[in-house]
Amino acid sequence: MKALCWMAKHEVGLRNVKEPQILNPHDAIIKVTTAAICGSDLHLYNGTIPTMEKGDILGHETMGEVVAVGKQVYKIKLGDHIVIPFDIACGSCHHCEQEEYSACDNTNPNSILADTLYGHSGAALFGYSHMYGGYAGGQAEYLRVPFVDTNSIVIPQGIPDEKVLFLSDILPTGYMAAENCNIKPGDTVAVWGAGPVAQMAIRCAYMLGADRVIAIDHFDKRLEMAERSHAHTINFESAENVLDELKYLTGGRGPDSCIDAVGMEAHGHSITATLDRAKMAVGLATDRPDALRQAIQACKKGGTVSIPGVYGGVLDKIPFGAAFGKGLTFKMGQTHTQKYMPLLLNKIMKDEIDPSFVITHRIDLEKAPQAYQQFNDEKNDCIKVIINMH
């Protein structure tokens, strides 16, 4: 089968590989119909997530048709059309019982690596480094899905892939980011970044009762998309001072909650951002957290900073004094995707949200290696890429 493989930093290859087999009794194999490239795949593309190996199959936003099931699969049937969450949960450990699926104890065969780096290992992820389990990803014609009864949602017939594919990651991620803000009537939510997760977070924040959402980015087309979702926007390149602007817009109080939907590779031209790039280049730092710094500075006293953006390592010059002084609450982490999928599918079916509005590029598999480069280098025009797999 054809699969997109990580070959080296800035090199994604389309290779002919073996088809996946059932390896464990709770596995299923799907024939992938549609997959997407995620903003977090660009962290892999740029080589900022450790423990990637040449030949790893990429992809964690995937859906398809079930073509084989293991001996102990009870819920999912051959022929079911399913969307797969990006994180792999066992469904039976204590964390899974609490619906904390991304904290699953059992699915990462390389948990000792994550134990060493992070203290504890969370759930494994599809196509996202060996520290996160080393599972082959879903930007391939077929995918093995472990614990498929837990890691899937069945899509009713007749729904186009585009409308439901983002249940795999960015829609639940945007929703959990907004839910983590504990939004109350009258609240203002500021969102750093206007990429796909931010676009979902903006709509979900309104859905959860925000009075106003402010999006901060420097790509005009992304900000225009945010405006179409009724966000107020700030272009951080043309604004004189983002923090002053946010204070002005909120009567001096600051946003009630701040969402960092950028993560470890923030752009920006502040002194700290320039230092970050220099330190990352020589290996002195692993992440560029400039969006997070600004979110902490901007947030109102007693407010919440919600972080769906991905961080991988050790962050430098985080204004922890500001966070402490203002008594901020931090909420973050990989999304408990399985918890949110049924709720959000229901909202899609009732036309309360159609997440396909973020799609700017629809391509065939052969064009996907170039699409990685385009998504990375042309962030203004290229917001979300989906790949037709069959």
Binding site: V17, L23, N24, C93, T107, L113, G133, R144
Partner: protein, 185 residues
């Protein structure tokens, strides 16, 4: 309840080993102490989850023979005797006769707080003759005895909680060694 990790909590036999290496690890498993004890006490179950354990023969109620093939090291064998056995509480064992890896160990099963299941504690003491030490790839992450036992506890937990041990062995990749023959360059 206090957990002692000093040498006084070591199995008595371990004190007879000269300068043994020691392992203290614990894990919480979402099953009852009786369920975990019953599974573990049937040594025929151990190869289902123990890394590198390629053969285990139960010879009597208390005696068993173990064969371990280390992933990047030698094959080692030993005879083990159960020295203490309390239902749903604890099992102790030690090696008997000549072996390259002399060892003794105890595993305890105690109820965890709230509905968290069972805390499983493992203490082991072992000696490897100086000349043999070099044969063990103890410098590789995850290949020293302490890491192997930590991995074994994780695999025991996964097997008991889910009925399988998570794996990626046998999955496709774009690496040359994983490609089907006709696909190789």
């Amino acid at each position: 309840m206090t957990f002692s990790t000093t040498s006084t909590a070591q199995p008595k036999v371990a004190q007879r080993l000269q300068n043994p290496e020691k392992i203290h690890r614990s894990i919480t498993i979402n099953k009852s102490p009786a369920e975990i004890y019953t599974f573990f006490r049937n040594f025929a179950n151990l190869p289902y989850f123990m890394k590198d354990l390629i053969a285990l023969t139960v010879n009597s109620e208390t005696m068993s023979h173990w064969v371990v093939q280390l992933e990047h090291g030698p094959k080692v064998e030993w005879n083990a005797e159960i020295t203490e056995d309390k239902y749903a509480e604890t099992i102790s064992w030690r090696t008997v006769g000549k072996t390259e890896v002399e060892q003794a160990g105890t595993i305890w099963f105690s109820k965890a707080p709230r509905d968290l299941g069972t805390v499983v504690r493992l203490h082991m003491a072992y000696t490897i003759p100086a000349g043999k030490l070099g044969k063990f790839a103890t410098h590789l992450v995850g290949e020293d005895p302490d890491s192997i036992m930590l991995i074994n506890l994780s695999r025991l937990k996964a097997y008991l909680e889910t009925g399988e041990i998570p794996t990626t062995k046998g999955q496709p990749s774009g690496r040359d060694e994983d490609l089907a023959p006709e696909m190789k360059h």
